[in-house]
């Protein structure tokens, strides 16, 4: 089986597992989410007809007449149609609408800052590893401590220093609320201005992991025979560092992207809360605080799909940059 | 007399025959050399005889000193193995004592025999306390030989026992093996890629190529007058300074 087919199959399996977990969790745990939801719905003036109840039961189980298997099939059917139910916290909006409104904010913020952090971390790590034994070594413990700091705490510190203290950045929000969201230059500028601090939080917290990993791999790669050969060939230091050492050292960082991405996304979600950023993280917390189970599950699924998708892209990229994986027959 | 008979031994990996219908017999007091290049299947044979790898087909029959077949659970009392790399075959975490006491106890013998075992391989008893990283390659391989002797085994599979050692100590380890073989009347399977030591160290030679035995016979006959074209190429490729210089001054 080719590398690409195997990878696609793996992510399909992971997707199925996530979807099924989402179905199983509310059924396994104590409590009666459907009743709580129906009560909430009533408070908000929603219709409490049997159809609404049936829809929540398909999603969350508990009670109901049909078998679990029928519920499962109906649940999968709803998912395929993009029907994730009605949100009670944003009633009468549908879950899919709430997600559609907030997802772009998170994708842009987390996507760009993760990419930036990866590139910066790997780049710095390559230099720190190559120049081992110089003052640059101090960067390693410094950034490692930063990566052990909770994201949201760093966000609090940055706000109190740069926003409250110096007034350089806005305290919270994703854009200036007097503006109408749209593709106007003014709005985009405001969105970028508001995004700098959250992005800085994510970059500072996550860069240490990339830097340390890359630095360690650089050090290992530097004692490989092919680097020795490159030196014996009289190649320039720059070429040896980039084409020979870093080119090989970066492979584990790319392969380990999956593990790191999960951490970054988790941290970013809580960061959004601190900044009251209009992304999916804030919505998830809103859902949690309001027992909006439908929204919560919808967001979990969307985040998982986004992370799986990003990992699939990275894995396909890995196949491109390391020819050996394409020829290997075993599952990694 | 203990004998180990291998009949029609075959091992298939992913439809490739690593070992293909190999038969031979090891008898007490004799050394058989199994010669071949890497990938010829010789190590797979060693691992099948050591019960580390299950054969795809064929049988391995062990006959005890009483002439009766040895039951499977007693097999390891009689057949032991020496591995190629003495740096990998000793656990870095454990002392020499552990490496010898465990097989002694597993085969119903007392750990008090450890000093005696060390003596058999020309090491002093104080080696028992040391750990592998404190030993040289030759010392490690001696410990590995002692470990193989610990259960009182009469059949020893030696898989390239000296190829990872420094050249100047190889002869010492081979001579030790030869001495033990004579004194304990062992049946030894000496696996090697080196034709010259195979010739000097064994009674019979089996030449392997791509999983099959292509030539067999008394060592001197096979290696000095090879019949099979592959054996001939192998012999011709082995560096031999004698062919370049006529022996003058040296007797």
């Amino acid at each position: 089986m080719s590398y690409y087919v195997r990878k696609a199959a793996f992510y399909l399996a992971a997707l199925w597992a996530a979807v099924t977990l989402n179905f199983v969790i509310p059924r396994l745990l104590p409590g009666n989410p459907v009743d709580i939801l129906m009560a909430k719905l009533q408070q908000r003036g929603g219709t409490v007809d049997p159809a609404a109840r049936k829809a929540y039961e398909t999603l969350l189980g508990t009670g109901g007449g049909g078998s679990v298997f029928q519920e499962y099939v109906a649940y999968l059917g709803n998912l395929l149609r993009g029907d994730l139910g009605v949100s009670v916290s944003a009633f009468p909006a549908k879950v899919s609408e709430v997600i559609a409104d907030s997802l772009p904010w998170t994708v842009v913020l987390v996507g760009l800052s993760t990419l930036l952090s990866f590139l910066l971390g790997v780049g710095l790590g390559a230099v720190v590893g190559w120049k081992r034994g110089t003052w640059l070594d101090a960067l390693v413990p410094a950034t490692t401590v930063l990566s052990a700091v909770p994201y949201f705490w760093l966000a609090l510190i940055l706000i109190s220093l740069l926003s409250s203290g110096l007034g350089w950045f806005p305290l919270t929000g994703g854009y200036d609320v007097v503006l109408d969201p749209g593709w106007s230059g003014e709005f985009i500028g405001s969105a970028i201005y508001h995004g700098i601090l959250p992005a800085l939080t994510i970059v500072i917290s996550s860069i240490g992991g990339w830097l340390l990993g890359m630095r360690n791999m650089m050090v290992s790669a530097m004692s490989e025979d092919y680097v020795l050969t490159a030196r014996a060939k009289g190649l320039t230091d720059r070429r040896i560092m980039i084409r020979y050492t870093a080119r090989n050292a970066v492979l584990p960082s790319v392969a380990g992207f999956a593990i790191s991405l999960g951490f970054v996304v988790s941290g970013s979600l809580v960061t959004e809360l601190v900044f009251s950023y209009p992304g999916i993280g804030s919505k998830l917390l809103q859902a949690v605080q309001n027992n909006d189970y439908a929204l919560m599950q919808g967001i979990f699924l969307v985040i998982t799909i986004a992370v799986l998708g990003a990992n699939l892209v990275v894995d396909l990229l890995y196949g491109l940059i390391d020819a050996r994986t394409r020829d290997r027959s075993t599952v990694s | 007399m203990t004998t180990l008979a291998v009949r029609g031994l075959t091992k298939t990996y992913h439809r490739i025959r690593a070992v293909d219908d190999v038969s031979f017999t090891l008898t007490a007091g004799r050394t058989v050399a199994l010669v071949g290049e890497s990938g010829s299947g010789k190590s797979t044979i060693a691992r099948m005889i050591a019960h580390l790898v299950r054969p795809t087909a064929g049988e391995i029959v062990l006959t005890g000193p009483d002439g009766e077949p040895v039951p499977r659970r007693a097999y390891r009392d009689h057949v032991q193995m020496i591995f190629q790399d003495p740096f990998a075959s000793l656990n870095p975490f454990h002392t020499v004592e552990h490496h010898l006491a465990r097989p002694l106890r597993l085969h119903g013998r007392s750990r008090d025999e450890v000093p005696h075992l060390l003596e058999r391989v020309s090491l002093t008893p104080d080696f028992a306390r040391r750990r592998p990283h404190e030993l040289s390659g030759g010392q490690r391989q001696r410990v590995a030989i002692a470990r193989a002797l610990a259960p009182g085994a009469k059949v020893i599979i030696a898989d390239e026992p000296v190829s990872m050692l420094d050249v100047s100590i190889r002869m010492g380890v081979l001579k030790l093996l030869g001495r033990l073989q004579r004194e304990e009347h062992l049946a030894v399977l000496y696996i090697t890629h080196d034709l010259a030591t195979a010739r000097h160290f064994s009674d019979e030679v089996l030449v392997m190529h791509r999983g099959r035995i292509v030539e067999r016979g008394a060592s001197d006959d096979v290696l000095t007058r090879p019949q099979d074209p592959y054996t001939r190429r192998l012999a011709a490729a082995t560096p031999d300074p004698a062919s370049r210089f006529s022996r003058g001054g040296l007797s």
Partner: protein
């Protein structure tokens, strides 16, 4: 002990001590006073909260709570990762496939969102510390399992595991006594990693109000600080200290992990960088024989470790044009160090302390870095042991052949470069169509041929070959040796051929130097070394190689 490990253990120990003893000394963290939000003072070292509770007292009990959760999660997650990582990898086959698929799926599903969903479904009054810890463990073991699996896979194929099985050890003993102790550093490092991760995750969870009911952790401190608008009220003393504790603890555990990493992988140890590779350069170049291309005089190389190791002692050699000089010796005799020093490829802590290396008219030891770079490969090229690792695994061989031309002959046009590479491959008997191949697509013999082609690209006068055929089978070795002899006759370059295989050198070389403990103990023509060896060590080496054709029996039996 390694300094980083000691510092990390010390710092982590202090924090654990603070969590254990602090709550006993700082009084009741819940006591409410009417002095809300006072800044740090003598009475309240870290100030008070909105309701006048002492922040230091809260910090102490919160530290204890977080450490407890961290330890609980780490123990549970380590057990889980051990089962899925170690047992799966040892069992192999279908069990391993299923276990590893399961771990990988758990790994790619983002952890915190899953934890949030699970805990949100648990009614608040049922969210106990143990339940939270269990959820964090279930969602946090997969990364460790992956690491443990990789490590176990490499350990289970070690010969000592096979040897234990041959001795008749039972499976559980092989795992517990032979494999597990060697996994301890990795297990420790994963445990430490999980503790940090659990404390961070719990802090995030509590910050969202999803923590364990009635618990006091660093996360709940954040939660109350956030809900008490500590940020807006600029009560930094309320939310800074818990973050500092986490950061310091995380930093301490990271230091511990550095320490463990350095134990596992000695390459990562700190090493001061030396500026010079050559300490003293002879002012005058020693007189050179007329037909000599490479002259080494009284060369000394010392590894400046403690104690210093004198690896090459007063070595003098002369390589004549077109000559094959054999350098024989066993591992650790200094032959490779000598070869590297000739081309100044030795790395710190190795230093050339005295002597000279003269190449034609070039004083190699006096070259400036840029001159040295231009000298390498153009005048002197090298072929190393095990072409397996000498070729860059991630680029096709074309790029690796071409970059020597690109660097040393910048004016050469792209088509000419391609032609030259193809010509050299043909010369060593490799089909030029293989230019696009990656190293792993070639056999060992082919790779070594490609290395030789690369070494010939710039028509060097000297080629140093360090054990070029040791990793190869006899038949392939013979082909490569014939190739070297043929190319030498055709192209008239000189060769320094380094190996432990004396018979091979006797057959191949014009002259042979035998090295032992850094010294050249015998230096003569191949014929003299074979027929009239002078040094006892040479005789011992000669006796170590029984002959295939000579008399039999005298050696062993």
């Amino acid at each position: 002990m390694r300094p980083k490990l000691a510092a990390g253990l010390g710092l982590a120990g202090l924090i654990v001590l603070f969590g254990l003893i602090g709550p006993l000394l700082t009084g009741d963290p819940a006591t409410i006073r009417d002095i809300g939000l006072t800044p740090p003072s003598g009475e309240h070292l870290l100030g008070t909260t909105l309701t006048g509770q002492d922040v230091l007292a809260q910090l102490a009990s919160a530290t204890r709570g977080s450490l407890w959760i961290g330890a609980l999660v780490a123990v549970m997650a380590t057990v889980l990762s051990g089962i899925f990582g170690i047992v799966g990898a040892y069992a192999g086959g279908a069990v391993d496939e299923v276990f590893s698929l399961f771990s990988n799926v758990m790994l790619v599903i983002p952890g915190l969102p899953l934890v949030i969903v699970i805990t949100a479904f648990v009614p608040p009054d049922e969210r106990g510390t143990w339940n939270i810890a269990l959820v964090l463990a279930i969602t946090g073991w997969a990364a460790s399992a992956r690491v443990l699996r990789a490590q176990t896979l490499s350990l289970r194929n070690r010969d000592y595991v096979a040897a234990a099985r041959v001795s008749g050890e039972k499976t559980w003993r092989v795992i517990g006594v032979e494999i597990l102790p060697n996994l301890l550093p990795v297990l420790a490092s994963q445990f430490v990693f999980t503790v940090v991760l659990a404390i961070l995750s719990e802090a995030g969870l509590s910050f969202l109000g999803l923590g364990a009911a009635n618990s006091s952790t660093l996360g709940t401190m954040f939660y109350y600080a956030q809900n008490g608008f500590a940020l807006q009220r600029e009560a930094w003393w309320w939310f800074v200290p818990p973050g500092m504790v986490i950061a310091l603890f995380g930093g301490a555990l990271a230091l511990i992990n550095f320490g463990i990493d350095e134990i596992i992988n000695p390459r990562l140890r700190d090493r001061p960088r030396r500026k010079r590779d050559v300490v003293a350069v002879e002012a005058e170049i020693a007189p050179v024989e007329p037909d000599a291309v490479l002259t080494v005089r009284n060369l000394n190389v010392v590894y400046q470790s403690s104690p210093p190791v004198h690896a090459v002692k007063n070595v003098s050699l002369t390589l004549r044009r077109g000559e094959i000089l054999g350098l024989a010796g066993e591992s650790g005799c200094g032959k490779t160090t000598l070869a590297y020093a000739i081309n100044r490829l030795h790395r710190p802590p190795a230093e050339v302390t005295s002597g000279s290396v003269t190449f034609d008219d070039v004083d190699v030891l006096a070259l400036e870095p840029e001159e040295l770079r231009e000298f390498r490969w153009v005048r002197l090229s090298m072929v190393f042991q095990g072409a397996m690792n000498s070729l860059n695994p991630v680029t096709p061989i074309r790029a690796q052949l071409q970059d020597a031309l690109r660097t040393h002959r910048p004016s050469m046009s792209a088509p000419d470069r391609e032609l030259r590479c193809a010509e050299m491959l043909r010369l060593v008997g490799v089909d030029p169509a293989r230019l696009g191949a990656y190293p792993h697509e070639l056999s060992g013999g082919m790779r070594q041929r490609v290395m030789i082609a690369m070494a010939l690209l710039l028509d060097p006068q000297v080629m140093i070959m360090d054990e070029p055929t040791t990793a190869l089978d006899v038949l392939v070795q013979r082909e490569i040796l014939n190739e070297i002899k043929r190319l030498r006759d055709e192209l008239q370059f000189a060769v320094v051929f380094i190996t432990h295989d004396l018979p091979l050198l006797l057959e191949l070389s014009d002259r042979i130097a035998v090295m032992r403990d850094g010294e050249v103990v015998e230096y003569a023509t191949a014929e003299d070394v074979y027929l009239r060896p002078e040094h006892p060590y040479t005789r011992q080496l000669l006796a170590s190689f029984p002959s295939l054709t000579g008399d039999r029996g005298a050696l062993i039996r």
